[in-house]
């Protein structure tokens, strides 16, 4: 297996770490804190708010880990693209409605980011995710996916080689 660390791999690792931190901080803090962030965007019903406050941190955290490890990359990147697109819609409507949200709450008080900046970050992340998906072969470098695929390919290759050797020996 040839290990190549290129811009795609670096971007994949960066996005992965970003989501591990973002999801991890939400999971470490009491659930009510992120529920408050979700509620402050004023778009869902109470029960949907609760569900989102449970699902989003776990999705971010697990998808981040999978992205760093490079496991099931296509599915993970598509999931993250869907999640980021959702964030963009939610933040954009909050800006348009001029909701009194000073910061997104993504990283707590430590990194306070105003909503337009959040929108910029989310759009960049979406573009980057889309780019990684588009160039999935390069993104797969230095990943578990490439390891499994390579091993499987090598196994299949050696199987077919031994089969061919056997059959050609038989015909001789």
């Amino acid at each position: 297996m040839k290990i190549v660390i290129n811009g795609f791999v670096l971007s994949r690792l960066l996005i992965g770490c970003f989501f591990v931190v973002s999801g991890g901080l939400k999971l470490l803090s009491p659930y009510e804190n992120f529920l408050y962030v979700v509620q402050s965007y004023e778009i869902h019903t109470a029960s949907l708010d609760r569900m989102i406050a449970w699902v989003v941190p776990w999705t971010e955290f697990l998808a981040g880990i999978f992205l760093v490890c490079g496991l099931w990359l296509k599915i993970v990147l598509k999931t993250l693209a869907f999640l980021i697109a959702g964030f963009i819609l939610v933040v954009a409507q909050a800006i348009l409605r001029n909701l009194p949200i000073r910061e997104c709450g993504c990283f707590g008080e430590l990194f306070s980011v105003p909503l337009p900046a959040v929108l910029l970050i989310d759009n960049s992340l979406l573009l980057l995710t889309w780019w990684l998906l588009k160039k999935i072969d390069k993104t797969k470098n230095f990943s578990l996916d490439s390891y499994f695929v390579t091993s499987e390919f090598q196994k299949r290759n050696s199987d077919s080689r031994s089969f061919l050797t056997k059959t050609s020996a038989g015909t001789r």
């Binding site: 408050y36 509620q39 402050s40």
Partner: protein, 178 residues
């Protein structure tokens, strides 16, 4: 300073000690959601006077430029036994003072309206231990998992923001009426 409680924490408590609904609120006086929460609590306490015991703690957020100073003035008011009067001015006039660059003259005016002793107030404002006390309140909140304001601990369970406060008070009221 006549009738001033020796413990400023006592000055920031409302309601009977054995009330069935015990609330500890972490507040930033510059936060608009906190003002909304205070108004809801005031109404709730008025309607159910014997059911709630409310205690306030400071949690000034760094994103609010006047958050810490407002807490400092409020603590000075608490040390003169006038916390709730000053607190009400801060909340009622929040929309006005939150936009000001220099907020001190407005807080001085609130202090005058709350009949605070000007000399005691001056000394208190220079007292570094008050700042430490506020920071300790915030550190306590952080330790409990508080990240944003308003955060409430209702009967020891955490709730953040107006929606969660309203829902829990409604639930407790239903529970108590059965």
């Amino acid at each position: 300073m006549k009738n001033a409680p020796t413990n400023s924490s006592l000055a920031k408590v409302k309601g009977k000690e054995d009330a069935p609904i015990q609330i500890v609120e972490f507040i930033d006086f510059q936060c608009s959601a906190c003002a909304k929460g205070v108004k809801h609590l005031q109404k709730f306490i008025k309607e159910h006077p014997n059911k709630v015991r409310l205690e306030l703690k400071y949690y000034p957020l760094s994103v609010h430029q006047h958050g810490f100073l407002s807490a400092h003035y409020a603590e000075c008011a608490a040390r003169q036994g006038k916390f709730w009067v000053f607190h009400d001015y801060l909340i009622d006039k929040q929309k006005y003072w939150e936009k000001l660059k220099d907020v001190k003259p407005t807080f001085e005016l609130f202090a005058e309206w709350s009949q605070l002793d000007p000399n005691d107030l001056k000394n208190c404002l220079e007292d570094k231990s008050v700042e430490e006390f506020i920071s300790k309140n915030k550190a306590e909140g952080k330790l409990l998992g508080v990240k944003s304001t308003p955060s409430y601990f209702i009967n020891d369970k955490m709730f953040v923001g107006f929606d969660q406060l309203e829902a829990e008070l409604k639930r407790l009221l239903n529970e108590n009426s059965h």
